[in-house]
Symmetry: C2
Subunit: 359 residues, 2 copies
């Protein structure tokens, strides 16, 4: 079991990563709780709720709320439903919410915890590769039809308990989605990590040692950044590498029609191309394109309107004064933020979408 | 103009109190904003929106969102509607929300600001006496049908700009509601302040010097407590003197059928009686009852079920492990929190409601 301590402006919490560690769940809780509500989705519920229940302290009253699997559950309706459930289950300020699932559950259950009675404790129990990213750093949110994560808080968990045995049941589409964030952590941190990921075939069983190593490294990159800039005043923006276009594609296609990671994977490809054009440098565009292709990432998209995408990029939380900001790379491991004019963006995006899928 | 600096865990902000100070609104903003959204209610809108617009920086783009006056606007529907308005108005992370109105608007607009893009700046421009309390301390929230303020955050404003000229148009029912919190600040802080309020007739025009003095003293009491305990881990609970029963009465009668302050006024009367019975002491119950009566506070209520009230008191955010906690007084200026057994509470409340209105 690997443990990493993360310091925020309001608390400190540990991220535990390892195979089979769910058995020690009770030991990883930072204090005693008398009333615990597990929030999970319909798929994870079938697989893991009983285990989690079994390993929670036996003295606690435990309830379970299940929402439909998928991004559509990050809605105002599900959020309000879960708050109502928390009231019905008599949760008070000393109670605990367990977010059992992937990024959708972490974001949704975390926002419920952040706002129920102005904030109660919650722990993240991630069950996807993608959640190595979303479970760390304290961002919680729900979506608005006009944009992803537009409604939320900065609200750190009390612990992240990441049993990597749960990843064995992940379908390939979820592995792809998660590995987009893993490789992002490589792009913005260091070449060796990036190259190790680029050499990994994620379409077959990834050796547990290698998978755990990638997840720990990804978490370390993220932890290092969020400790320095919890509220995203400056360097935390680097974590949005690939996300400006990624979010726009995701919401333009409709949540659920492309996974978060697959959309971000394309967003990163675009960010690399923009970086190369802006700084007149060479980045591993081809090696990355090849890895995406070999691992069956979707690289041809339905026809998309450049103007619609740009309008959505402007609604991104990172945009300022109606100008699009993107995270670019000066080299692997050296991210920067740049404001891009509408004219440049239109040309670059038009060109990128035109050739995408035809390479 | 009187200015008080308040330090929180995340920022510092000033509370400005004075007659006619809205004219200097632009000077009181802590920084420049390019996009400003005023949130107000239908009554305040008619009276003050144009003034506020006039005194905001002329370089800013300003939009106005109006919600119906009254507690019912602290709903999930209005909250979501305002978030949608913020998106439509292109507010970004550097934009400002102005909460123009009483406690309902401050709580609602504050929660919108706290959660829009994970938190943007907001300032409070209170227009009621009650809001001298609610605008300070960073509590923002909306209601759930099962309980008041069950959904919210701790999220301090960037400034509170309290132009006491706006209080001249307040109807008596709003003066009563507001003065309940003023006298609460007297009860929990010091005898001299309490006695000064007990000598004040609030059914006629209160001399501006006296009113401003009471508001500044009330704000000072609150500021002192919230600076020491922002997140309500301990002494901030004292500010809930009268609120455990007050909130229960308010929600049992239905929001809007009794004002917040009037319900709290009765809650304080009950808390005083419980204090006297618990500690075998004498408190100014009669003087307070006389002041309530002279100032036309409602002292007879429609028939209420003791069991329903207790169930609601247990849903209060201050309750722990399904036991009711109340703030009591050991003497004026010395509040304490006590856990009350269901049996004691039933007897005390039954007795209190029985004699209420018949004194």
């Amino acid at each position: 079991m690997h443990k990493q301590l993360i310091t925020t402006s309001t608390n400190q919490y540990n991220v535990f990563v390892g195979n089979g560690i769910i058995e020690n769940l009770a030991d990883y809780l930072p204090k005693e709780y008398q009333n615990i509500m597990i929030i999970t989705d319909s798929i994870v519920h079938e697989l893991y709720t009983e285990d989690v229940r079994k390993y929670l302290p036996q003295s606690a009253q435990v309830s379970v709320s299940v929402v439909p699997a998928g991004e559509n559950s990050k809605s105002i309706e599900q959020y309000y439903h879960l708050l109502t459930e928390a009231i019905k289950n008599n949760l008070d300020r000393k109670s605990l919410i367990v977010a059992l699932g992937g990024g959708v559950i972490g974001d949704l259950a975390g926002f419920v915890a952040a706002t129920y009675m102005r904030g109660i404790d919650f722990v993240q129990v991630p069950t996807t590769i993608l959640a190595h990213d979303s479970s760390v750093g304290g961002k919680v949110a729900i979506n608005h039809p006009e944009g992803k994560n537009l409604i939320g808080n900065f609200y750190p968990p009390q612990a992240v308990i990441f049993d990597t045995d749960t990843l064995k049941t992940l379908p390939n589409i979820e592995k792809r989605s998660g590995y987009a964030e893993v490789i992002k952590h490589g792009f913005i941190s260091n070449e060796a990590f990036l190259e190790d990921v680029l050499e990994t075939d994620i379409t077959t069983d990834i050796p547990p040692m290698k998978l755990n190593d990638h997840l720990q490294k990804g978490i370390a990159v993220k932890a290092d950044i969020v400790e320095k800039d919890e509220k995203e005043a400056n360097i935390r923006k680097f974590l949005n590498f690939g996300h400006t276009l990624g979010h726009a594609i995701e919401s333009e296609l409709g949540y659920g029609n492309i996974t978060h990671g697959e959309a971000v994977a394309i967003g990163m490809l675009f960010a690399i191309e923009v970086s190369e054009a802006t700084y007149r440098i060479s980045l591993p565009y081809q090696a990355y394109y090849h890895w995406l292709s070999a691992n069956q990432y979707p690289l041809s998209l339905p026809p998309l309107s450049v103007q619609n995408l740009i309008n959505r990029m402007k609604k991104d939380k990172k945009s300022e004064n109606a100008m699009v900001q993107m995270v670019l790379l000066k080299e692997v491991g050296s991210p920067v933020t740049e404001t891009i004019s509408d004219q440049d963006l239109t040309n670059l995006l038009d060109n990128f979408l035109g050739k995408l899928g035809s390479e």
